[in-house]
């Protein structure tokens, strides 16, 4: 499956991802410094105290000098300190928030693949029955609804209508350390994130399965006397997944970016929540850190999806 060529390919991709991450953080660095206002401005510092603080963080130097310092620190994995929560180093914060977002995202991805694939396969096998129509209709509703509508609706149902049962277990306290005790706490936001993508995967899988089931090799498999379940899973599904993986890349991106909205709605202290807060606060270093984290996440996810091709389709080699 994985050859030496694949290994070289992975290394090449990792180098490219690093360059892309560097490019993104540089762009963001330049962009955020062009925004009116700054982190200290909002703190009612006046006169020399303001100047001193600016000097302390090196913000009074010309932009190109600041940029070079920033690049130098980046190479050591140091993203600097927060300007709002003074003295707090950013790298650990971003890493922690990234793990939180990745955890929610991963569960959303499991929803996407698991729910989407099984819906698609069942709909294809029961083509033109009430079950197919039910699942297909659900899919249309799923990908027609933005994730924030689903998120709000879920909160309404589980947080307001069913409060007696759930006791608000999926709200997160401010200052929550970001470690999930149980899957129970993240399945709602993950569902809100994953359901639209799951719907797309379901429709793709259904169409793809229907096509594959018409193929000659399915007839061969039947002529061999294989059991129907073996034919469906081993022969049909594996082939049907090849086009589905194509959309998995963009869908993973949608889950990562969708996290910005959904994390804010559920109050999850992940990268998405920090994304919004840090920009509003003009917390330069944090903004750059968050974007850097996002760029890395996107790059690595895409690499992961591309490697999935190799696992599923032996005709593809890198």
């Amino acid at each position: 499956m994985f050859t030496r060529g694949t290994l070289i390919y992975i290394v090449q991709r990792l180098v490219l991802i690093t360059l892309a991450v560097l490019g993104v953080s540089s762009l963001v660095f330049l962009g955020i410094h062009r925004l009116p206002g700054d982190a200290l401005f909002s703190e009612h510092l006046r006169g020399t105290q303001y100047e001193l603080t600016l000097h302390h963080y090196g913000l009074d130097r010309p932009l190109w000098q600041q940029y070079l310092t920033f690049l130098g620190n980046m190479f050591h994995g140091d993203l600097g300190e927060s300007l709002v929560n003074r003295g707090v180093p950013i790298t650990p914060i971003v890493l922690r928030e990234m793990s939180v977002s990745a955890e929610v995202g991963l569960v959303a991805l499991i929803f996407t693949i698991g729910l989407g694939m099984s819906f698609g396969v069942i709909a294809a096998l029961r083509q033109n029955t009430w079950l197919d129509y039910l699942l297909s209709t659900t899919s249309v509703i799923g990908y027609s609804m933005p994730n924030f509508v689903i998120a709000t609706f879920l909160i309404l149902v589980f947080g307001v209508w069913l409060e007696n049962i759930t006791h608000g277990n999926f709200y997160f306290e401010i200052g929550w350390p970001g470690r999930y005790g149980s899957i129970g706490a993240i399945w709602l936001p993950a569902f809100a994130l994953g359901f639209p993508s799951a719907s797309i995967v379901a429709r793709m899988t259904r169409a793809s399965m229907l096509e594959v089931l018409q193929q000659d090799f399915i007839r061969t498999a039947r002529a061999k006397g294989l059991a129907p379940a073996t034919i469906t899973i081993r022969h049909a599904l594996r082939n049907a997944l090849i086009p589905v993986i194509t959309v998995l890349g963009p869908l993973a991106m949608a889950i990562i970016t969708g996290g910005v909205v959904v994390e804010n709605i559920f109050g999850i202290p992940g990268l998405g929540k920090e994304f919004a807060t840090s920009i509003l606060n003009r917390d330069y270093n944090v903004v750059i850190g968050v974007f850097t984290g996002y760029a890395a996440l996107v790059g690595l996810t895409n690499l992961g999806v591309d490697l999935l091709y190799v696992v599923i389709d032996p005709r593809i080699r890198y």
């Binding site: 007839r219 061969t220 498999a221 002529a223 061999k224 006397g225 294989l226 005709r315």
Partner: protein
């Protein structure tokens, strides 16, 4: 001869389409004897492939077997449950398909696809089955069988893929092998090798072979008996040599005339069969071949001929037959074999 291993009686397979019912196989009956090699020939759309698929109940949607019997070892295959039928497939009756490119699963290793056929019917471990798959690949003369077994189908050549298909068909040493145009997608040289291989396996293993083809040459090289199909029906059947030498149905006669022969008189023109195969949604009344037949008589327009014994072991469904066509219409000296040319019936007349 011994008792037949497979008896097909009045098989009817239909496809229900938006435009109406297509009777792809319409009342086909034949016997298959143990170890023999039976050819089924016909043009595209004559129903030969659907007949083959019907034997294993693998007719694709919207096709339905609506009547008849397929008797195998005293069981009517058409009456078995799906599970019982599944056990027959691949174990007792195996099928080799045309176009091995699309008939093999692209994402599974060749050896595994062969082993799978064994694992479906025998109690053995995966590694045992894989080892036997390598043996089978060796048996169908694939060089470096061990490493080829680990290859995916796209890494094999067309001929090797078809050999792998044959190995798959032989995996459970079936009593009957149905080969549906196994040489169609291959080069001529490879075709010959594959046919030779099938003939050898037929002799060595004693499996009865049903050979579906549109190629008379394939029949001549491999089969002992032949069924000629036209528009969903058998029009002639008998021993291969006899049919080639003395065809009695005008369709068989024209079919043989349309094949280029090395030993033919030079400058003799090849005859194509005029017209096109009938639309099975609205098959012609009477004999289905009459719109293309040079020897038709008035009876052919209205009455459906049945298979009758015309020579020892040879049966044809025709009101005229070639003996009469020769005697009364000078068939062999005929230069113009357009529809109705030798008959007393003018083209166009009587046809609705």
């Amino acid at each position: 001869m011994a008792t037949p291993i497979l008896q097909v009686k009045d098989l009817q397979t239909q496809f229900t389409t938006h435009d109406g019912v297509v009777r792809a196989v319409d009342g086909v009956s034949f016997d298959l004897y143990p170890g023999e090699s039976l050819g089924i020939v016909g043009e595209s759309g004559s129903g030969k492939s659907v007949t083959a698929l019907s034997l294993l109940r693998l007719v694709p949607n919207p096709g339905r077997i609506v009547g008849g019997q397929v008797l195998f070892r005293n069981d009517d295959l058409l009456q078995l449950s799906d599970e019982e039928m599944r056990e027959i497939r691949g174990r007792d009756i195996a099928m080799i398909f045309q176009d091995p490119q699309s008939s093999l699963n692209p994402v599974l290793r060749t050896g595994f696809q062969i082993a799978e056929a064994m694992l479906a019917h025998q109690r053995s471990t995966r590694s045992q089955a894989l080892r036997r798959a390598v043996e089978l690949l060796r048996r169908v003369r694939i060089p470096a069988a061990e490493s080829r077994a680990k290859d995916y189908p796209h890494q094999l050549s067309g001929g090797m893929r078809q050999r792998a298909m044959i190995a798959m068909g032989l995996a459970n040493a079936p009593a009957i092998v149905v080969a549906d145009e196994p040489t169609t997608a291959l080069d001529v040289t490879v075709q010959a090798q594959i046919l030779e291989l099938l003939a050898d396996l037929n002799h060595e293993l004693g499996a009865a072979v049903v050979m579906i083809t549109h190629n008379m040459g394939v029949v001549a090289g491999l089969c002992t008996r032949v069924l000629v199909m036209y528009a969903g029906q058998i029009v002639e059947q008998g021993p291969v040599e006899q049919i080639f030498e003395d065809p009695q149905h005008p369709y068989t006669w024209s079919l043989l005339k349309s094949i280029p022969r090395v030993d033919a008189v030079r400058h003799e023109r090849l005859r194509s069969i005029e017209g096109i195969a009938p639309d099975l949604l609205r098959p012609p009344r009477g004999c289905r071949f009459h719109p293309r037949c040079p020897f038709r008589v008035e009876k052919c327009f209205s009455d459906d001929p049945h298979l009758i014994e015309v020579k020892p072991d040879q049966r044809a469904a025709c009101w005229v037959t070639m003996d009469r066509a020769r005697a009364e219409m000078g068939a062999d000296d005929l230069l113009d074999i357009r529809p109705g040319s030798a008959s007393g019936v003018q083209a166009g007349r009587l046809v609705e």
